[in-house]
């Protein structure tokens, strides 16, 4: 810092030094929407939310502070605990499976296959459909009376049992199936792009070294695709935290509260229960979790700018 201060001091004598503010002025002006969004909406909205989570606001936000009451209630609520647990299960599995499936599909697509475009389109098209639609279709497919279970039973396997949406213990996996159907195509695309960016010579080198293909993928190629995994992670993870529509469309959180998720808790308490304070407390908890994991990582990952490229 001292270096900068003396620097400015000596330069002051020179004519025409523009002020710090006006340098890069166009860039700054052009970034105003971004700054406003970041500061007013994301940061301001967050702080506002946190502030009101300490109040007893009902339908409308009011600054009647009640300390940590809302949080105590939140962590005593079985539904919240179930939501957190569900999010953890759903998050972990959907991360793992979408990465694994996405990568495997991409690896298969990268084998110089015929009809690559067709396959790619097939894997990608569900991404064009909304979660509402996805939820609906899979609700239909998984419906025990009409869906896969009844069809398989009709074919003779009468003992066949596949009824995830009405079984509390596995309902979250029923949601996972639909989520993977919708999202793995994009992951596949990202991974495929990453694979195409790998130097041909690496493959040649590993062939000369006699390394089997799967080992090359596992020990050489995957570690080289770090940036792709980072982008994919951001996209998948942000989707996981926000999962809401799919649950609503598929199960509305049921059976019972077996497939509740935090975002739905927030929404339900803010608007249905008309207890904004409670909803804000829940969203604050979500934000804190996200912040603890994301902020340090995001800063490290994204503040390097051009240097890293």
């Amino acid at each position: 810092m001292t270096g900068q201060v003396t620097g400015r001091a000596t330069v002051r004598a020179h004519p025409g030094r523009p002020s710090r503010l006006t340098r890069n002025l166009s860039a700054k002006i052009a970034s105003i929407p971004m700054m406003l969004t970041a500061v007013v909406v994301f940061l301001g909205g967050t702080l506002w939310t946190v502030l009101y989570s300490f109040t007893s606001s009902k339908l409308l936000p009011r600054l009647k502070f009640v300390g940590l009451d809302q949080y105590e209630r939140l962590w005593a609520a079985p539904r919240w605990l179930v939501s957190i647990e569900n999010l953890a299960i759903y998050g972990v599995f959907s991360l793992i499976f979408s990465m694994v499936i996405g990568f495997m599909l991409a690896a298969l697509m990268d084998q110089k296959i015929r009809f690559e475009n067709t396959f790619r389109t097939i894997f990608l098209y569900p991404f064009a459909l909304s979660f509402i639609v996805t939820g609906l279709v899979w609700q239909w497919l998984l419906n025990p009376e009409h869906g896969i279970q009844s069809v398989v039973r009709a074919m003779g396997w009468t003992g066949f049992d596949f009824n995830p949406l009405y079984d509390s213990s596995i309902v979250i996996y029923g949601i996972l199936i639909a989520a993977l159907w919708q999202g793995t195509g994009l992951v596949m695309c990202l991974m495929l792009a990453g694979l195409r960016g790998i130097d041909e010579d690496i493959w040649k080198a590993s062939r000369v070294d006699g390394i089997p293909m799967w080992k090359t993928y596992l020990f050489v190629v995957i570690p080289m695709m770090r940036p792709v995994f980072v982008t994919t992670l951001v996209i998948i993870a942000s989707g996981i935290v926000r999962v809401y529509d799919l649950v609503v469309a598929q199960t509305s959180g049921g059976p019972g509260i077996a497939s509740e998720v935090p975002a739905k808790y927030v929404y339900d308490y803010m608007f249905q229960a008309q207890n904004l304070g409670q909803g804000f407390a829940a969203s604050t908890m979500m934000l804190i979790t996200v912040a603890i994991i994301i902020v340090p990582w995001a800063y490290l990952e994204f503040s390097g700018g051009r240097k890293r490229v």
Binding site: D201, A205, R207, V208, D209, G210, I211, F219, V220, P223
Partner: protein, 362 residues
């Protein structure tokens, strides 16, 4: 004994035939350089030998064994790539040992081989580093090491130095040469840098459009190029070419006439008879032209200095002579200002004559 032998090789990518009817025999312990401009098929040929490309027709033998259908790893070859192709997330040590581990060699053997390669290449202190923490030259050394540990008979290099800066390149060139002198493996080395080719090769194969133009030792290539392509390709700056024809001089001797100027052919050893009237091209290298001095047996020609390029040890002159531009290399200590008139003499014993039509050496 031949170490690598390529017979009637053909390779097509779909409709495009890149290599056709290519034959090449490489002796055991020989250092062969494949030289040619970009896109002439050098890497393709190397990849065929390595087994990284499926050939369309022909056969490939390594150490007398027909390996045409063998997997790369079973051919007893090691390969070094232009982009190094190091496994970026593994330490140098892992890079070296990975292939051996996969081949299930005993750990003791692996350690021994890695240690030996590290010693030969002097990368012992780097073993624990990742490739990203190495300089270009060090990376290249590790890449060579990876071939080295595999204890192979034949080393294949695909432009191993072209990603490095000039200084490093000349250093590593010496190292590769030394490596070859001590290991005595067969080495096939692809480059488009003629200095590398000249300094490293036992023999050079000059390629153009998938065809080997000349396969000979560097000295022959440099001093007796088989055709104008080879002559022009090798040497920097290029050989000077003068178009003209054979005539009979005033004294009855065979002379070369270009742009009204007559050159005696004293000292030139022609393979073909030099019949008067034959259209030919005279090629003479910049260092075989003497400036302001009478070279052995040559007569003097007037020229004007156009541009001077001092290069330290040498001084390169670009002259206007008989309507051509001509490059001449003089000692670095001699300086000429542009516009200066000088007198040239040609060393015909080191010049080349080519048929103007076939471009073949006479």
């Amino acid at each position: 004994m031949t170490s690598v032998s390529v017979k009637d090789l053909r390779l097509s990518f779909g409709q495009v035939t890149v290599l056709d009817q290519l034959n090449l025999d490489i002796q055991e312990g020989e250092f062969l350089v494949l030289l040619g401009s970009s896109g002439c098929g050098k890497s393709t040929l190397l990849n065929c030998i390595a087994g990284l490309l499926d050939i369309t027709d022909g056969q490939i033998f390594i150490n007398g064994r027909n390996v045409t259908w063998d997997e790369p790893k079973d051919r007893g070859i090691g390969m070094v790539f232009q982009s190094y192709a190091l496994y970026p997330q593994m330490t140098v040590e892992k890079n070296l040992s990975f292939g051996l581990k996969v081949a299930k060699l005993p750990q003791g053997e692996i350690d021994k081989r890695v240690a030996r390669a590290a010693e030969i290449l002097q990368i012992g202190p780097l073993l624990k580093r990742k490739p990203s923490e190495l300089s270009g030259g060090q990376r290249q050394r590790v890449a060579i090491g990876r071939a080295l540990v595999r204890d192979v008979d034949v080393f294949l290099f695909d432009e191993p130095l072209s990603n490095l800066d000039a200084k490093l390149r000349s250093e590593l060139r010496v190292e590769i040469k030394r490596l070859h002198q001590s290991l005595k493996n067969t080495m096939i080395y692809v480059t488009h840098d003629q200095i590398e080719a000249l300094t490293l090769a036992d023999r050079i194969a000059i390629m153009k459009g998938g065809v080997i133009q000349q396969l000979a030792d560097p000295n022959t290539i440099y001093n007796a190029p088989r055709n104008m392509f080879v002559a022009g390709f090798i040497g920097s700056p290029s050989m000077n070419f003068l178009k003209g024809e054979i005539a009979t001089g005033a004294d009855g001797k065979t002379v070369f006439v270009a742009g009204g100027v007559t050159f005696s052919l004293n000292g030139y050893r022609a393979g073909d008879p030099l019949l008067p009237g034959r259209k030919v091209v005279l090629g003479v290298r910049p260092e075989h032209v003497a400036v302001d001095e009478a070279a052995a047996g040559g007569e003097l020609h007037e020229a004007v200095v156009d541009i001077e390029e001092p290069m330290g040890a040498d001084n390169l002159l670009w002259l206007k002579h008989a309507g051509h531009t001509m490059a001449v290399r003089t000692a670095g200590s001699r300086r000429f200002r542009p516009g200066t008139k000088v007198r040239l003499s040609f060393d015909m014993s080191l010049a080349s004559l080519f048929d103007a039509a076939t471009e073949e050496r006479i």
